[in-house]
Symmetry: C2
Subunit: 414 residues, 2 copies
């Protein structure tokens, strides 16, 4: 007998029929002798409906009231789901975030879970019930409702799995798992069977949307095995687990890309101490996230600074930078928002030299100019012109033979 | 400075525009220096939507889960309302039933309020905030969500007014107040300015839908002055208050009718002790409410029993009665569902003899046969053929001069 936490997203519970199908699926697993905890999101479309209503009420909706509003969405699905389980002959009981004491901090609309009291859940599990918990929501010490932000239901599921010491946490979604790259632009993209927490963290931060990055961090911290799989098939998905020896034999686990990028270059900045701080602080202060930063020394006491921001913040960032540039005596500012970031990720990089070089080689071979480079222990990212995105993804996916289950080691070009 | 509880029903908060209008109205009252507590229902139509969803999930939806589902409706309106108040430059904070500890018993879908902890509300009132409370919902000692059943938001408002020792409780609805009779069938129907709790109790139990009967009982018990009025005008509505001397000068305050009636007669029942119990217990056990009961003694040891049930339960009740009639040796069972109950209500009856006689006289004059009669201290009800309903209402309304502010005393026919 295993204790299993299963999370189903909005598209999996989008209507009564789908809710019933999920109930049957969970019930089947329960009848095989497992203890089941189910975490549900709001029906697909509900959150947008609520946001739209809120926008009609207040220019910037009050965060506390926004959480009261948003959290009502999961309340609907957990109740309907429990009814469906009972209708199918099983037993279930639903709980809201505050009823199972998912205690969070007070950061409304993006709260972080501090603690979960598992007593009530364990009591009902022991009685043979399927315990249904509203995802995405929690409660402060002060009994105010909070929500966990984008992807919050994944976080609820992993946090519950950690608190309950569950044997596994299954995240059901509308794709079959984590892929070596986007199957929509690369036909040979392959579903990854097992991936390490660290690789998944890099992939999630680089734009792979299948798992929320916070939930991966939490899973890593508490060593919760997470199984990402499809609601609509019985196929095994991707296991996100601790790093295994076998994973290191893979040079690269995945290639990912992001088009939400824009580049800003400040030329001929006087290279004096504190200049970076002077440039970047006012940008950060407005909530704009600066990603890659590159500084090139020029002749004399001048330097060029180039950095990237989300494309959606490009215009706003440019305005700020132009003002500062004048203040600090920089010669000129230019930028472009037709760039993309291509990244390769893999724990194998730790033990295999030359993977970055291979990447540069492959891009050069395809005639793609690299504008910026950034690396971490298990990742290499390159900024290129946006129009080459798909070409670059396919070329890298092929070069590292990611479509194959077992990549050749150290035979990739260097 | 007064402490005022205002309740707005589903049609008053049916969309963002209406919610904003209500927010402005409440804010105006707050800015006049009053402390405001606002109780809101779910948006009109939401409850039906939830019931429809639940029906698709479980043949008889689980009551606990039904309450989780239903209570999400008010959660939406209180959040949107608080946002609207803030957008209009005021300050507001919303609370769910469990957040202000509206403790109820465990009778899901029709729970009764046991206790309300006013500490949190008073704290925020003292800070000058408009406190917005979800109507219709509470929480058990065990932290399960409950709902209060039909008209439950009225009950929430009156219970809050009682607990907070509010100066008044205003129930906003889509009519202008309590009328002497249904304005749709009697053109001279007049809005009543002031009515006693007891009269309102009788009117509510006789089918007047403007105020939920439980809220009236609660208002009476805690002496909460209740003001029933329209959301869409500024006109004063009807005050439901303790009995006043002036009220007694009115012979009759209102005439009301119900068409949800059916009659069942069991003929020639052996008149032995316990026979009524044998007949009525099996009916009550199925949840059917028996209203009027009349027993006529016949010659010998036989008796005739006639009683009324809601028309919607008629077929079911007949089936049960036919079985029992055979068992207890009654001669025959007959019934009809084309009847109506006409009632006149007024505290003036206590001091004025002959009001019932006048009623019988008026009905006779119109050629309307009376099938059954039942009376209380401040009410007379007659069962008549349904087709005479409107005629009877108009004739009685005219005879007792209810269209006039001041009825003549003791000049009404006897």
């Amino acid at each position: 007998m295993a204790l299993i936490v299963q999370k189903f997203g909005g598209t999996s519970v989008a209507n009564p029929e789908k809710i019933r199908n999920v109930a049957k699926r969970v019930l089947k697993k329960a009848r095989e002798g497992n203890q089941m905890v189910v975490v549900l999101s709001a029906m697909a479309g509900e959150t947008n409906r609520f946001v739209n209503l809120a926008d009609q009420m207040q220019k910037i909706p009050d965060p506390r009231e926004m959480d009261v509003l948003l959290s009502s969405g999961e309340q609907v699905t957990i109740a309907l789901f429990a009814m469906a389980v009972k209708d199918e002959g099983g037993d279930a009981i639903s709980f809201l975030g505050d009823q199972v004491k998912i205690i969070t901090d007070t950061m409304h609309t993006k709260a972080r879970i501090r603690n979960i009291d598992t007593e009530r859940i364990n009591k009902h599990l022991a009685q043979g019930k399927i315990v249904v918990v509203a995802g995405f929501q929690g409660v402060t010490d002060n009994e105010d409702i909070t929500t966990l932000g984008r992807g919050g239901s994944d976080t609820t599921a992993v946090a519950l799995a950690a608190a309950l010491k569950a044997d596994q946490c299954e995240i059901f979604t509308d794709v079959e798992g984590v892929y070596t790259t986007d199957p929509n632009i690369c036909a040979s993209a392959r579903k990854i069977d097992r991936i390490s927490y660290d690789e998944m963290l890099e992939l999630a931060s680089l734009g792979a949307k299948v798992l929320d990055i916070r939930s991966v961090g939490l899973a890593k911290k508490f060593k919760v095995p997470v199984h990402v799989r499809s609601t609509f098939t019985e196929t095994e998905g991707t296991w996100v687990v601790e790093e295994e020896k076998k994973m290191e034999s893979m040079l690269v686990s995945g290639v990912t890309y992001s088009k939400n990028e824009a580049r800003i270059t400040v030329s001929r900045v006087p290279d004096t101490p504190g200049i970076a701080s002077k440039l970047f602080t006012p940008i950060s202060d407005t909530g704009i996230i600066i990603d890659m930063i590159i500084q090139n020394t020029r002749a004399g006491d001048l330097t060029d600074m180039t950095f990237t921001v989300p494309r959606t913040d490009y215009v706003r960032a440019m305005k700020i930078v132009e003002e500062i540039a004048a203040e600090i005596g920089a010669e000129s500012v230019n930028g472009s928002d037709d760039i993309a970031k291509i990244s390769i990720v893999g724990v194998g990089m730790r033990n295999h030299a030359g993977i970055a070089t291979t990447m540069f080689h492959v891009l050069a071979r395809e005639g793609i100019n690299i504008m910026m480079i950034s690396t971490s222990e298990i990742k290499v990212s390159c900024v290129i012109a946006e129009k080459y995105t798909e070409l670059a993804v396919r070329a890298l996916h092929d070069a590292f033979e990611m479509g194959k289950e077992n990549q050749p080691v150290d035979e990739t070009g260097q």
